[in-house]
Amino acid sequence: MAILTLILGRLAKAVITLLAIVILNFFLIHAAPGDPAAVLAGETGAADEIYIQQLRERFGLDQPLHVQLGKYVWGVLHLDLGFSYRQQMPVLDLILDRLPATLLLTMTAFGVSLLLGVILGLAAAARVGKWTDSMITGMALLFYATPLYWVALMSVLLFSVQLEWLPAFGYETVGADYTGIQMVLDRLKHLVLPALTLGLFFMAVYLRMTRASLLEVSQMDFVKTARAKGLSENIIRRRHILRNALLPVVTLAGLQAGQLVGGAVLTETVFAWPGIGRLMFDSLAARDYNTLLGVFLVSAAMVIFFNIVTDIVYRLIDPRIGAGAAS
């Protein structure tokens, strides 16, 4: 019940936030120099004033900005994200086409980084001050400090070119028409490098957070109480420390999960991953306003979605919060 009210409340807020984002982005993007008609004309290899004017009329770019905005917002309210003249298709279809690839990539990266981060964080915290700890935290620092795209380049160089273990780019073997298990394996093979590249940084973040949080929680009074009960260290760690320590990690993960979608631009470019990050970058260069706005909208919605999910997860883990709102 409480959760339902929460969700409804958050959704109501989300709609307002999203509208605000749409409007801000609309002006932001239209403030950019360059005009989509000119870009499109540019690609035809020859164009003149008349042709560009035709294009502008076709895109509705000849209308005053507030009229364009009004139309756009009206459309968005009806789940119509407009038409991409650059790609000759409705923006929503375009995004839905690309979204699965992005979700596959980001969610894998997210899952792997969270899992590895927490496990390694646990391992490090369990051996504080020993060399294992130093090694793990050192490695985390290294990943934390490395530019993502550089890791991508270097790993392609190593794993695809030198060792030829993994495909260098793309998200499937094109035209192989694999089915069933083969398809899954094929996808997985393509996924390894981009997901790792994207995930390593976040893994480092979770690792450090988990470790710090574990160390902090293990100083808390209730841990001492648990010891006084005669519980084994194992149970104390698992039952008392871990759950409490994961609370901040959950918060952070929720924040990151949404951001990942937008943050995949670099990875998707380097690995030719057909997701919306790349779509965004391409649309930006072409001043494909509608597509760009659509991508922004979708990624913002994603952030909000994950925030809500985080809140719910948090509530499930932490009884204090849910009850606080209910009473």
């Binding site: 009074d221 109480t225 648990a226 010891r227 009960k229 005669g230 039952r239 009884p319 009850a323």
Partner: protein
Amino acid sequence: MDTVLSIQNLTVSLPRGADRDHAVADISFDLKQGETLCVVGESGSGKSMTANALMGLLPDEVKVTGGKAIFEGDSLFDLPDTARQAIRGERIGMIFQEPMTALNPLMRVGAQIEEVFEAHNRFDPAERRKRALALIEEVGLPDPDKIIRAYPFQLSGGQRQRVMIATALALDPKILIADEPTTALDVTTQAQILNLIKRLQERHNMAVMFITHDFGVVAEIADQVVVMRYGEIVERGRAAKVLESPEHPYTRTLLNAVPSEDVPDATPLVQTPVLEVRNLHKIYVTGGGLMKPSRNVTAIDGVSFSLSKGEILGLVGESGSGKSTIGRSIVRLVTADSGQILLDGQDMNALDTQELRKARRRVQMVFQDPYASLNPRKKVLRAITEGPITQGVPPEQAKERALELLETVGLDRAAAERFPHEFSGGQRQRIGIARALAMDPEVIIADEAVSALDVSIQAQVLELLKDLRDRFSLSMLFITHDLRVAAQLCDRIAVLQKGRLVELGTVHEVFLTPQDDYTRSLLAAVPGASWGRVAV
């Protein structure tokens, strides 16, 4: 009686960089079956470290470096970790000071109790649950069926402490170690818990090692007393003997410092009210948002009183009764909903921001926490002079006055150039008082101004306050939950219950012939109330 635990020459050493080399040095004492041993001493004297060493719960960097603890024929410190783990919870139980944080916030209360059985492989889950229920009942928690499924945050401090006790007693341990288990609780709750422990001790015939810094508590429950200072035992013996005729000078100072003299004679009052509070109301509204319902807490419910020139009015009551809220309303740190606060006839509630800033100098506050009430990044001089300078006093003059005041409160002039962290708690509280005095106030509100201090230091500060009142004929609203302190310092006492003023009278009236039931129960709950030195 049998000795269950014998501590011989225990030494616990601290890591480099700590206050001193040893938390505990070469101490010995015995714990006998069915007896309560109280360990008293000021903060940092090594009480907790002793207990933790016995439990095997010392922090990593703190080590037992000498001595033995013989428990049931075994030397505890020589046992392997697993064996010590087996003893914890089953043979020796422990309760801690802070009930708010001692329970895992994410686990149901019942599960936390049942865990003890699990840890020692006792019973099947159904039986564990039954026993947990029985324990909850035994420690006097209401509605056990509900409590067992509750989360810690749903319980009050006293209730949580009962859960802790239930946990500690689950396996009928031979020894119960309690490290200041009632310090964080208010008097009535404290009395209940002390009672409970006493009762259970008798029923289970345990040995109890009770750590406290409160001699009232000692008087209430102790059979044996150990007095500690700087990690050493300075005195040890039967409770009655130590309390009645202490041998060691330190014990004597401690006991003298306990604010327990006879209720002082009422000083004749000059009947010129400086401060008048009329029909004050304050309701806190919390929570509340777009969809959430708000929660109302009535903190002050129609309180009226007046404060005469040179008078010290004590404001007592349980935790949450609204004492601080009244104090803070007077200085407008909290804005009351209705009612008047007249300072020499001027209504503080009616002032606008500018006027208020001017008027504020007339009422100053001395805060509870000497650590939190001074800005750690500002020198003492700045802390004292900032107010006067803001009010328009020339800096030179303000500085001169600040130096004088430092001397007045018993500090060196050189103290002005130091940072707060370079002072002890008692010294900081003096700085806080000097800061309040620097504004030349007519009224001082002291909100639990001595509660955070050790008894001996407490006594000094109280002495200082009295002295200042006499010298500057200050009026003072002294807020405290400690009735002994109130008895010693105040001229009149106001008793507060749930935001309402239930009794107001001279110290004699209130302490000797209390009118209100609540006042009576409050007085009865003071630990060691029957102890001869207290005049109630």
